[in-house]
């Protein structure tokens, strides 16, 4: 199963490297959103809860773009049928898609975080970087699991561009809560918050639940 998953992941990354369909669009979307937030708030520098909220909302909305691309290309070009014909576990397809989304998100954040620090963030980013990286990686894990599940669910519907985002946004509310709450003290210059562990725990719980759910349910989405 690992081999099959790795093979599909390698294929996805190669397609992405050559066609560049998802990641550049997501990064561009994030940076443009920062520009919009600058004008919407009419502020040159953000800090505290507003900065944390801006960063997390932007990243969560960026995920929507990635999720929309995740299965659509597969469906349009018949790649999924070939994968279903292959004698591999369906879970391998989920693992590969979630891993691909995870990597996309990490790359996008490598671009978006410095852009955020330069364009909008008031306090220095470097001091809060370790805690922020831990939060982002754990959130990406949860987003990858829930994104792959929602992507597969929405890909079969007639109005998938609408259903996907509508489904994803309520589902990521817990991540927005944990991310924004944990990041807010980092951006007020107060250093690492005491209850960082609590929010990391919530994100870990979220990721665990959705990985397990997706592994259990993914087979039923790809039956035919």
């Amino acid at each position: 199963m690992t081999r099959a998953a790795l093979a599909i992941l390698r294929k996805d990354l190669r397609v992405e490297l050559r066609a560049r369909e998802a990641v550049p669009a997501m990064a561009l979307f994030a940076v443009t959103a920062f520009v919009l937030f600058h004008f919407a708030f009419d502020r040159d520098a953000l800090d505290g809860d507003v900065a944390a909220g801006t960063l997390w909302v932007t990243l969560l909305l960026t995920t929507v773009l990635g999720v929309n691309r995740l299965f659509v290309a597969e469906r349009e070009q018949g790649g999924l049928e070939a994968m279903l014909l292959a004698p591999i576990d369906r879970t391998a397809i989920f693992l590969a898609k979630a891993a691909a989304l995870f990597l996309y998100l990490v790359v996008v954040e490598i671009v978006a975080l410095p852009a955020f620090a330069v364009l909008l963030l008031g306090p220095d980013l470097l001091g809060s970087l370790p805690a922020l990286i831990a939060l982002l990686l754990l959130a990406d894990l949860g987003l990858a699991a829930v994104g792959a599940l929602v992507g597969a669910l929405a890909a079969e519907t007639r109005a998938r561009e609408v259903i996907g985002p509508l489904l994803l946004l309520p589902l990521v509310v817990p991540l927005a809560i944990a991310g924004a709450q944990a990041t807010e003290p980092l951006f007020t210059g107060a250093g690492a918050p005491e209850d960082l562990g609590r929010w990391l725990g919530l994100m870990g719980l979220y990721a665990t639940i959705f990985v397990l759910l997706s592994v259990a349910l993914f087979d039923f989405l790809l039956e035919d």
């Binding site: 599940l149 929405a154 007639r158 259903i163 489904l167 946004l169 639940i209």
Partner: protein, 259 residues
Amino acid sequence: MYGRALKPLALATAAGAALAFGLIFFYAPIDADQGFIQKIFYLHVPMAIVALLGFLAGGVMAAMHLRTRKRVWDMRSYVAIHLSIILAVGVLITGSIWAKASWGHWWVWDEPMLVSFLIVFLLYAVYQPLRFSIDDPERQARYASVFAISGAAFTVLNFVAVRMAATYTHPRVFSQTGGNMPREMFFTFLVSLAAMALVFATLWTLELGSKNASERLRRARRRRGREADARALGLDDTPARTAGGSPPAASVSAATAPR
């Protein structure tokens, strides 16, 4: 057969609702703090609990559908979620009225129950659009089941997350154990909860029965239509009459006419 349990269930519901209303207005004491408006508690909280359990039950029934592959479980799950969505609207409206009367605002963000309900409602509001934008009925049932199971798990997770984020200013009419509420209030609350559960059960049975009946009607109609077509085309058991060579064009138009 569906619908057989409907009559006793409906009678029990009517009795339960009447008893609950009687207790609410003539037995339960007026809240010293909030006054008369506190009585909305007997509607709001049972509705919230029943809607929540409805979403969870929808998830369990969906799991049964995926296990047994019986369409009836998908129908049950669908009707439970459908009713819970309607109840959730009621929860949001009554909660909003209560908030306005208690705090002077139509919406308060620091009441975890209400906020969680809004999020859960926004998620389940996509259930029907998702379901009905899939054409193949078998796939529709499967995808809806996956949604229902994920939604049930999310509902629980979401309550944990929102509770963690909230500062606890919820009016504590009763604590986790129900200890600090007068006994009359708690008893009225329990009766209201039972009545609300009965309302849900009755509506669920009724809706399931009606769905089942209209499904059977559609099937019967289709069968009759097919038989009429077959007769018109001379394909039924007694073909001797039409075998004589009625013009094919006439029989085709006759076949399309009765539909």
